[in-house]
Structures are given as structure tokens and as C-alpha cells.
Amino acid sequence: MTDVIVIGAGGGGAVVAKELAERGLDVLVLEAGPHYTDPENEWSRFENDCNEVTRGYYRFGPGDRSKPWWLRETPQNSLIWQLAGVGGTTQHYYGNNPRAMPGTFTGYDGADRDAYDTAHPFPFTYESFIPYFEWVEYTLPVQTAAMGTKESVFFRGAEAVGLPHNTSKNVSQDSYRAQENAILQPGGTAGTTTDSSQLLFPKATGCTFCGYCFQGCIEPRGAPRNLKAKRSTDNSYIPMAMTASHWKPGGVDITLVPDAFVTKILHTTEGSEVVVTGVRWRDTNSGEVHEETAPVVVMAGGCVEDPRLWKNSSLPDPNGWVGKGFTDHFFDWVIGVFDEYTGSSKGVGSSARADFPGRGGLENVGLPPAIQAFSAQFSDAGIRGLYGNGLARTGEWDGDSGRLNGEEFKRIMTDIDKLLNILIITDDDVEEQNAVGLSSFPADEHGPIPKVTFKQRNRTARTLANREFLANKAAEIAKAAGAKEVYRIDWPPLILHVQSTMRMGHSDADSVLDETGEARYVKGLFIGDNAALANGLGGPNPTITAQALATRTAEFIFQKYFDGDPWVLTDTPIQSIDDAVTRAVLGQSGGGGDDDETPSTGGGLPVLGGAAIAAATMLRRRNGRGVTGKVGLRPLLDAPGSPDGVHDCTAIAGCGCHDH
């Protein structure tokens, strides 16, 4: 018997686990995929070795890559790009953390209030939710992103089409801005050199602009796990959760079991209520089956696996909404081809965006070549110049939408650093028809497999119109930035931003969860990931909202089942890069010490001496808003007279390193 079982150590489950462990609960985290504990030596960051969805180290499958991946049926041209493993899909995310649009919450009364999915709002107000955004933004931390060349090109285009520069975390009008990223911003030598010998921690801190966000963040080399640049939960919340007793009085370290695929939610009936009692899981290496009991179970296996597990557990679904209402932001893709250098393969995956309340958003995306090539082939509108499936369209882009192929494709791919990709992120409606069910294909070792259905071209008129608006706007921005050619690919469902398959809502007619995140029809069972989101958020990337919601759900769990008090409005969060966490992470690698300034040898994490600890301390202080009121590492690390002194600030307009 444990207090809480969390299923899945991804973007949401890790948050619930850390928050409750910090409050002294015994938390068991079961993760279906592997736990990479030494990524510097485990991740090549080569695209096939990493991203090939059947065998890459980032796949939805067991850690033993000689074994098949875990199939999902997709009865349409589409791709689910979701990962198993500690960190879940945040392992390959770009750390983009824009808050949800206020218009997707109950009580919103702006002039554009009718522009959103008004039938499926969050069942609470945006204002009441802001402290949860704040809590997560501080914990990760989230920072305003630096720019590289590709961002400067995007900004140029956005300004040229007349968009104003938004300098707020909250969006109130059509505008562009730097991303709010869960990425430690560059410090020291980071971002200033290609010499790998100069990019070791602590000489370099934060993002080194390596360009491999999608292949896993190991930068800077030598940094403790909690000080890697990208704040995927394997670098942030999980290291905190595993060391909670070391940095928080009364905290209890979680028990993390990777390679543990949960196959059934155990439950009983008490009176008229179905009550959760625990879980059954399978060791994916040995095949052994285990059970554990707990009064609270939190499902956080993702928008596809949560409903699958629910259905395979024969849990009640009286309104039929388990698995339904899947939103995916109805992505699309525009590629601009330039005569000039854009640096598209370098730097953070995306550090620039434009927001269109009631429509959705756009963001620039930089990629290495294989996924760049994939992105130009992924379409349901045929092949340009050959056929269009009856779906190819014309607009602000050049010619028909559709795949680039043959000679044209190869020509456009000639210089990857002369491209500008823009991702269309549609504010899409919750629709019952877009859903996760069970496949009629043979079951795998974990039960009947999921079937993910999207009616790509038969969505609501609002959703379709939003996507067309955004695709045209993206092409306008690319052209205004100087692109000589602009192509719209017209993607089929790329199921990457996933939301709302176990949605919370006001009405028990079309939601699975009540407003606390607890299942309406199974007591003690909560959803702690993106599946719990009420809708598609109006287009912003979902991670920060899902993590804020997971924090809120953890509070309700603590209050209802453990007689605890809420903390977000009263307590001070501890950052994942706090010195105490760093010491705990380093000490853990040596097998114990909690406050030891001098880590012992052994284990998978790098061993650092006093100088590195000092650098980590500096880094943490510079990210602590209480010190300077500024976010970022530059102010001190690159201060005049710094031994680093690695770049000439006078040559960079507005570089922000220090006061000029």
C-alpha cells in the first residue's frame, strides 16, 4: 500500500509526483518506458537513431530496442509522435510554454469572447488559474527566449505584416513575441562558439544553440541533470521528485519504476460508487505481473493511453466521453526558401511565435535535415505538380499546397540553413468524432491496442476557417521576411500537441472529470496530464497549462484524501535548478549524501567539484527573480571583466547581456 500511484512519468505525471512527494506522501511512479540516466552517453542525437518512430531511442515502445514498438492503429494518413520513457514527450519538446488563451476559460468576458470553443471551456476562471501558471513557470523555470538568426528572420516578417510586439505573458490581441521557453538561457560561452571544448559546464551554462531539442537535451555537457538547458521533466520535475527528502523538510523521495506498463486500474464498488484500489502492471523486461494498492491513482500516460487503459480496465463510462473530444491543434506547415542564411538547423527548436486570439498561433521551427525532409512530405493534399487528392489549395503561398517531391524537393533541401519553417497551431474545437477507442487488431502484451481516429477534413467550420487564416498569415510572414519561395504542405494529423481525451468540464454530459481533475464515476481516480485539459487552449502549446493543471489537481488530491492544505497561494516554490536540488542530484549519484558539497564518484551523473557547484549557485541566483528582478544568466556571467568575456556585446544590438 502506498499513498498515491502515478501512471506515467511524462509532462504531467512527474508534476503530480513531485508536488505530492514534496508534501510528504509516499508516491509510486510507474513509467512504461525506459529511464535514461546517462543521456550524454546514451543519446547520439542522430535523427534515425533517435527519432525513427519504430526503433529510435525516442519511441513509444520498450527500452529494449530489439523489441517491437507498441502499435496504435491510425486508420488515416497521420502520425502519433509520442514518447515512452521518463520525461515522456517532453523529452523531445522545444520547451515552448505559452499560457493558454484566457478566452478558453469560464467567465471570460473579453470582446472576443465568442471567438473560442465556447461549448467546452475550462470549468474555472483564467484569473484563478494564474497562480498555477506562475508556480510551474518559476519551478521549471520558464524564461523569455533569446534569439538566433531564424528568430530574427521571423520577427522581421511579423513586423513587416504589421503585428505589434507583445511584451506580456498574457495575450490580448494579434501580436508576435519571443517564446516563453522552459529552457535555461545561454550563459558563459554558450551560444558564442562552435568549439565543443569551450562548451563544457560550468564554462557554458544553459542553451548552447546545438539545434537538437528534438533529439534530447544533453547540453551543456558536464552539467548535473537538473541543470541541463531544456526543462523536460526528466531534467526538472523528476530529479526533484526523486530527491524530495533532500531539499524539502518532510519531503519523501518518490519510488520510480521504469519499464512498468500499467495494464489495469483495480477498483471495487462501495455502495453506488466505483472506487479505485490500485493498479496492475507488467514488467516489460521480465514479463512479470505485479499489483500495488493505493487510495489514489493518477493516470498520466498521455491522451492515447489514458483512455485505452480506462477501457481495458472496464471502468464506467456512462456518458461515452472517455477518449472523445481529442484536440490536436490541426497543425499545418509552411516553408519559406530564402537566398540568405537563416540558421534554421541551429538553436532552440522555436524561440519566436505569433498569437491570434480566437484563431490560434504560429511559431518558427528549426530542424535538422531528416525531420525537415519529413515535414515537406507529410501531407494529405497529394504531390505538387502531380495530383492534389481533391484537397490541394491555393493562397498566399506559391502554387498548390501539397508535398514537395522529386527535383523540386531536392532543390529546396539544398541548403537547410536557408529555410524558415512556420508551424500553424490551430485553435481547434472539441469534437466527439475525434477520438481514441480500442482497435480490432490483435491485442499486444498489454491488452487491446488503441485506435486513434481523426476526421481531418470534416471538422467544425470554425476550426477549418482558423487553419486557413493561419496558413495564409504564415505565408504572408515568410514572404514579408524575404522568402523567395513559400510552400504550404497541408499536413494530415500530426498528433503531437495532444489534449482533452479525458476532458474536465462543467457538464456531466460531455466530460470525464469534474473540476478538481477527479473522474466523475470512479472515486480516487484522477487524470494528471494533457488528457484532462478541457479543450485545445485556443492554440498555445499545451505543456505549461497541463503542468499547471496537474499542480492544481495535486492540491485537490492532498486536500481531499490526505487532509492537507493547499500551497500554491501561500508557499514559495523551490526551483528545479536550486542549489539544494543540485546537491541532492549530485549526491544521489554517489549513493546517498544529501547536503554534501563534494559529490562522491560513481553513478550515472557527472561528478562536479566545488567550482561547478559555485557556478550552479550563480546560475540559480541569476534565475531567481528576487535577486535582480531579471530572468536570465547573462547579467552576471558576461559582466564586463568576466573571465569568460567571450563575445562582444557592442556588436550585438539589444543583446541584453548587461546594461550598455
Binding site: N48, W69, P75, W135, M147, F209, E219, A373, Q377, K451
Partner: protein, 314 residues
């Protein structure tokens, strides 16, 4: 039992019989066909396997060259070449076959057998011109257990059909509809590889748009529990094949050494033809790309300041 003409149509249209005949004509020893096909299945398969593999490689190579042409023979056959190395030089055909055979498309077990059976049925009413049969040089039907019977039995045994071959046969079937002359196994055994670039586009279109009711015929002839879903699966598969032809070509696949996974054996074709990380054999650690913060804004409004243990908005 004699092979029916419709089942023979299936073998011809998917390129299988042509591959067999070409193999026989090239001097490879084929088994003597005798009494019981079941008894011979194992030995027959091992003898036919190279021909089937070549059929799959040819079809998939023709597909790879369609997406990323180069100076290779498959690109030449389609009438669209490009002077720099393309998908074939990047070993993309092997990459695709590896991926497909690793259950990328869930056609194994029940699925592969069902799809193959459906392919057989789908060709029932599609005739083949006699001059093409003559050109291919098919052996005569003699009323006894035939070469064709054995092949069909191979395809009815779900343990022996890799998914890559099923997909290749599907491409060939579509090719045979777009241009019947492609069924003559020259220069390649696979009809799809014998098409022009534009005809390849028409074949892919036929699959994607489900022309001629191909996919519906699949669904209609499939047993439970896989009916209904297979046409969607084929649409998924053809989309995935296009995407993976592009993805695979631009990866490190051909230069990756699993025994030394952090350093490549040489520069991948895809890196060279996209100008990626010039001169490097490893994933780099960073770039000198930091340009500061847009308009100097490093901390936006709405960021929450830390107070005395209480959060407050700006």
C-alpha cells in the same frame, strides 16, 4: 489443382511471377515441383527468397528514387535524374524495408495474411493482355500442381511474408493498373520500378485516392476482425512510405555504426546534399548563434515576482 487465371493475375500484377521467371531465366535453380506443396514449402521458400527480396528491393528502390532522385539506375528508368546522390545512394531502400519489416505498418500476423488474400481477390476481374503474358514468358498452366500454387501458398502463410514485400506488391499492383507494360520484368523485376516518374505519381495517387476501388475491395474481401480498417491502414502506409523515403534519405542511416554510435563512419548523403553541419561526423555541441534578446526584452510583463512567500502579479 490448377491455378485459376485470377490468382495468376495477382502474381503477375504484383510482380511476383515475373520475378520468378526472371530468376529462372537467369539460371538460378528452382525446385522441382512435385506432389505435395506443403512438404516443399520450406525448401521452396528458401530458393525463392532471393527473387522475392529482389522484387521488394526493386519496388522500394523505385519508390525512393521517385521521392529523392539521383544519378542511379532507378532514377534513370523513371526519366528523372539529378546529378547529386539521392535516396538510392543513401541506402534509403534498405532503410524503408528495415522499417516496414519492423512492424511500422501493423500488417504482421493476421494483417499480412488478410491483405495478401485480399490482393489476390482484388485482381480477380482484372485481365492481363495476352501479348504481355507472352512477353513475360510465363510457364503454361498444365493442370498439375504448379509453380504458381506454391507461391500462393507462400503468401497464405503469414509467417513468411515480410510487411515490406506486401507493400511492394501493393505498389506493383497499382503500377500494373497505371501502365500494364510495366509488368514485363525489365529492366527491373518490379512493375513500379519500371514506371516513368509521372506514372509513379499516378500509381501513388491511385493508392492514396483509392482509385479503382482498390482499398474498398480490400475491405470487402477481408475477414473479421480486420475489415473496415485495412483501407485506412493502406492510406496510412502509403503516406508513411513517402514521409519515410524523405526522412530516411536525410538521416545518418547508411553511415551509422551501432558499435560506435556517437561517431559516423562518414558523411551521410543527406547531410551533404542539405549542407548540414559541414565536415562533421558527430552531432555538434553548439553554435555561435546567440543574437541577444529581441528589442532587449529579457523579462516580459506578467512574469511573477517573488515576494515574501506570496506570489503577486506585476
Amino acid at each position: 489443382m490448377a491455378m485459376s487465371l485470377s490468382r495468376r493475375n495477382f502474381l503477375v500484377r504484383t510482380g511476383v511471377l515475373g520475378a520468378m521467371v526472371a530468376t529462372a531465366q537467369s539460371g538460378l535453380r528452382l525446385p522441382a515441383f512435385a506432389q505435395s506443396a506443403d512438404d516443399l514449402l520450406g525448401p521452396v521458400f528458401s530458393n525463392l527468397n532471393p527473387a522475392l527480396q529482389q522484387l521488394g528491393i526493386d519496388a522500394i528502390s523505385g519508390f525512393s528514387a521517385f521521392v529523392v532522385p539521383g544519378p542511379d539506375a532507378y532514377s534513370e528508368q523513371q526519366g528523372l535524374t539529378e546529378p547529386r546522390p539521392g535516396a538510392v545512394a543513401a541506402l534509403n531502400p534498405q532503410f524503408l524495408i528495415d522499417v516496414l519489416d519492423f512492424d511500422f505498418v501493423p500488417l504482421s500476423d493476421t494483417g499480412a495474411r488478410a491483405v495478401t488474400q485480399a490482393l489476390v481477390t482484388a485482381t480477380t476481374d482484372i485481365g492481363i493482355p495476352q501479348d504481355l503474358i507472352d512477353a513475360i514468358g510465363l510457364p503454361a498452366l498444365d493442370g498439375a500442381t504448379t509453380f504458381d500454387d506454391l507461391i500462393i501458398q507462400l503468401f497464405e502463410n503469414d509467417q513468411t511474408i515480410p510487411t515490406g514485400l506486401v507493400i511492394a506488391m501493393y505498389l506493383n499492383l497499382a503500377a500494373s493498373q497505371v501502365n500494364p507494360a510495366s509488368m514485363v520484368p525489365a529492366p527491373f523485376t518490379a512493375p513500379f520500378a519500371n514506371l516513368s516518374w509521372a506514372d509513379k505519381g499516378a500509381a501513388v495517387q491511385a493508392i492514396e485516392e483509392q482509385h479503382a476501388g482498390l482499398a474498398e475491395m480490400l475491405d470487402a474481401n477481408l475477414p473479421e476482425p480486420v475489415e473496415v480498417t485495412v483501407s485506412g491502414l493502406i492510406k496510412f502506409a502509403i503516406g508513411a512510405l513517402l514521409e519515410y523515403a524523405a526522412f530516411g534519405t536525410y538521416t545518418e542511416y547508411a553511415m551509422f555504426d551501432p558499435d560506435n554510435p556517437m561517431t559516423l563512419k562518414g558523411r551521410p548523403v543527406g547531410w551533404e546534399i542539405s549542407g548540414f553541419q559541414p565536415g562533421q561526423l558527430t552531432s555538434g555541441e553548439g553554435w555561435d548563434e546567440f543574437l541577444g534578446y529581441h528589442k532587449g526584452v529579457q523579462d516580459v510583463e506578467g512574469s511573477w515576482q517573488r515576494g515574501e512567500g506570496v506570489l503577486s502579479n506585476d
